[in-house]
Symmetry: C2
Subunit: 532 residues, 2 copies
Amino acid sequence: MNREQQQLAEGVLFTDEYQLTMAQMYFRLGLHETPAQFDYFFRSYPDYGAHKAGFCVFAGLDWLLDWMAESRFGPAELDCLRSQTGRAGTPLFGADFLAWLGRHGSFEALSMRGVAEGRVVHPHVPLVVVTGPLAVAQILETALLNQLNYQTLIATKAARIRESGRGQLVIEFGARRGHGKGVTAGARAALIGGADFSSNVGISHVLGLPPKGTHAHSMVQAFLALGMSELDAFRAFAETYPDDCVLLVDTIDTLGSGIPNAIRVFEELRRRGHRPVGIRLDSGDLAHLSLQAAKMLDAAGFPDATIFLSNELDELSIWQILTQIAEEAGRNGVDADRIIGRLAYGVGTRLVTSAGDAALSGVYKLVALRREGKWVPAMKLSESPAKMPIPGDKRVWRLYDRRGKATADLVAAREEEPSAQQEIVLRHPNETSLHRRLRRGDLQAVEPLLEEVLCEGRRLLAPAEIEQMRARRRADVERLDPGVKRLMNPHIYHVSLSEKMWQRKQRLIAAMRAGLPRREPLPPDPATPTSA
Amino acid sequence: MNREQQQLAEGVLFTDEYQLTMAQMYFRLGLHETPAQFDYFFRSYPDYGAHKAGFCVFAGLDWLLDWMAESRFGPAELDCLRSQTGRAGTPLFGADFLAWLGRHGSFEALSMRGVAEGRVVHPHVPLVVVTGPLAVAQILETALLNQLNYQTLIATKAARIRESGRGQLVIEFGARRGHGKGVTAGARAALIGGADFSSNVGISHVLGLPPKGTHAHSMVQAFLALGMSELDAFRAFAETYPDDCVLLVDTIDTLGSGIPNAIRVFEELRRRGHRPVGIRLDSGDLAHLSLQAAKMLDAAGFPDATIFLSNELDELSIWQILTQIAEEAGRNGVDADRIIGRLAYGVGTRLVTSAGDAALSGVYKLVALRREGKWVPAMKLSESPAKMPIPGDKRVWRLYDRRGKATADLVAAREEEPSAQQEIVLRHPNETSLHRRLRRGDLQAVEPLLEEVLCEGRRLLAPAEIEQMRARRRADVERLDPGVKRLMNPHIYHVSLSEKMWQRKQRLIAAMRAGLPRREPLPPDPATPTSA
């Protein structure tokens, strides 16, 4: 695929065929400009098999907005659609529809509310709410899901890896086994969610961060093949990078050759006034080798040299390495916390592919259409209650308890103001009997989660810097109950409906069940305001 | 990320930082233009947990070549590198090195041999062999691994899905939950490996295939919200697409509403002279619903209507659905094969993320350097024998038995001609005692697998059409022993070394073990030719 083809593949035609065939059908019926509301939400946390997430970190919105601003149906895109024929050999898309697409086929008519990137988020809560002409909002679905699902998946994995690594340095280096050019989005999401740096040069520069790296085994191999030694290789590298020297010590024999040679080169650097950065371990029993390496580096007078670990790491393997270090340190006469405090992690494949659960179950669902000035909720009845989207126009609130910990996310009708209520009723989204009451006095704060992002195509928020998004993530993770952060079997965070929203949902289910098939629209909620 | 940033992120800087720091070090030592040979191979088949691949389908090479042709260190890329500073605050890359990169920092000096895309491939066999200046070949690593690992992973998954679906129509629609823009590569790989079409509009047009689709639940929901019915929605869709009408029947109640309404609309289409395409089932017990749907469609006189299945499908769930249909069909008075023969599969997330094993373990290893006119093999000793690359310059042969089935891949020294030998000894790559002898007369064919792809940057092969690559895949899959194609616990295909190659590897291991550290180069193989 050359660059021209890539622009075609990744522009507005980065969508599913049925979005376009549906759009044309709406056009034929005169419904294409009916105002519609779609909610983006995910149904369950990533489940990695042996372990499971108890929270997610939202990411991807800004890149979606960039894509929306640059994508429209231009001549090349319209030519493609014009060339499509149906089974009968006639054009699939009519000239009138294509002319309309040429005039209105951009995302300039859409408005959007959304959660800020970097924030901690939970299932069933609308994270992005899109309103605008039905046909256009429908065409957006594929690209929106692609960006938000993947980046949220990876930001979440990165947050888990950071937690399990106890906040030590994490470097993302997943480009070589991640999924095609998607790894640039993966690197960004990792940097928001928990990685400090990426080894990926291009995306690091785009995001304003320095790329990081050490060296490969091939460097030592090349020296050996040319009749030189590992020590020669290390010396040459240290000569070139005297102040940025990290040496990979496992090409020949980690304890017998790699670490002793590294220490020799570090001593030479020190004599010349430089401070070596550290070593990297990429194979073997990383816990045991970390302990031994720490002892050897300490004995040589390099107590601050970092020990970088890599090799198919993820949150679980890091957690196991640290557990093993804690158990073995005493026997080895070393302090476990001091060793753990000098570790750093290179995390690649298992981070950017979200090993164990490689997709987030995010969906984009029609929840309301505007008819005669009112939002009419839309439902899909066949699904189990747990899969039904929350219908109609709404707002989302996060409730913080007296400790300042987030205790629940509340989905309420658009016009509700939970922060002004004396008592808030939290209804389980599906279980009739489950509810919880919170007095306003027991809450430190009631925070609206959705911000105005886009007003008829105009961006209302400046793109955030990576550091701002990280600050949001750190603050939100800090405000999570420790049980929610457990790597395995996490405590379940409450996502609730307001009493009013719950009643609306029940009323709609009853109306739909009673009235199918029928000729009347679903009842608009009595309290739905008449303006969008 | 806007388009300008994307070009920077996805151009030649789509690499890992350490490739560049190593390249500069080679430059400082005057080694940067030493001819080097790197092999690309993977170490094990994808292992999905409950099931495992017994073969892979190679893909991604052509897109890699496109990328190589367009990527070079231009002013924007050099500016990025110039801005990088080390820990001491001084520039990380010297002006002399950057000047060299500006002059030689493209892939025009590289040559490449490779397996044709679409071919069946196996572990440890070099699939791409890159030769050229050490620094440039090193910088290529990240992008090469990214393209080949992901596309081979997905082509493999698609081949499995096609096999388990018994060759019925497969449509890829993974864009919404795949990994960012990587899904375009995923769609291509799926189309090579086993999918007939993709729902992704842009990439389908780039590849010259028509995109395919049905409609979404939201269409029926929109009609309901506007006071109309599922039947109204189906009629409107059929009116717009009378010859391409596939109706999604599970928005309300599949058996009670969706299928009866679809049949009513199909009857109306038939009266107007059109032939409906079929229905789509997206939830519930797909085996049971397929049976019931087939009976209802048969009874209404639509025995040829296709039944599209979707909902988190993969090779295992498809296999289970077909098994269940085979078991239940008799009890329902229908013919299982006839039902199975009218099914088609929409496969999304689990295809483009390779659910169960989301990364291929492909690596790019330095295997030889040229010194005084000879290729000197490079080895990495610390690894287990199973992980060691096969050293030095080599060729790869596929052996077909008398039935015409592939019986082994043989990795031989460059100068060997197994097709001319009376007896071929196949050595297990690691186990000394395991070997097998084949007489030439017992073999139908001995086929060289690697083709000349690139000669000093000049492309020797025209890009293949999707259909050509599919033809290769079909022919190769046909020539696999059925045991190798089993979804679970597949029979192990033999990948062997020639006696000569095996001896070379043993000699090198012995030389390295004996001589470390040493000042002499590893011995070149006595029979290595002096020309590349």
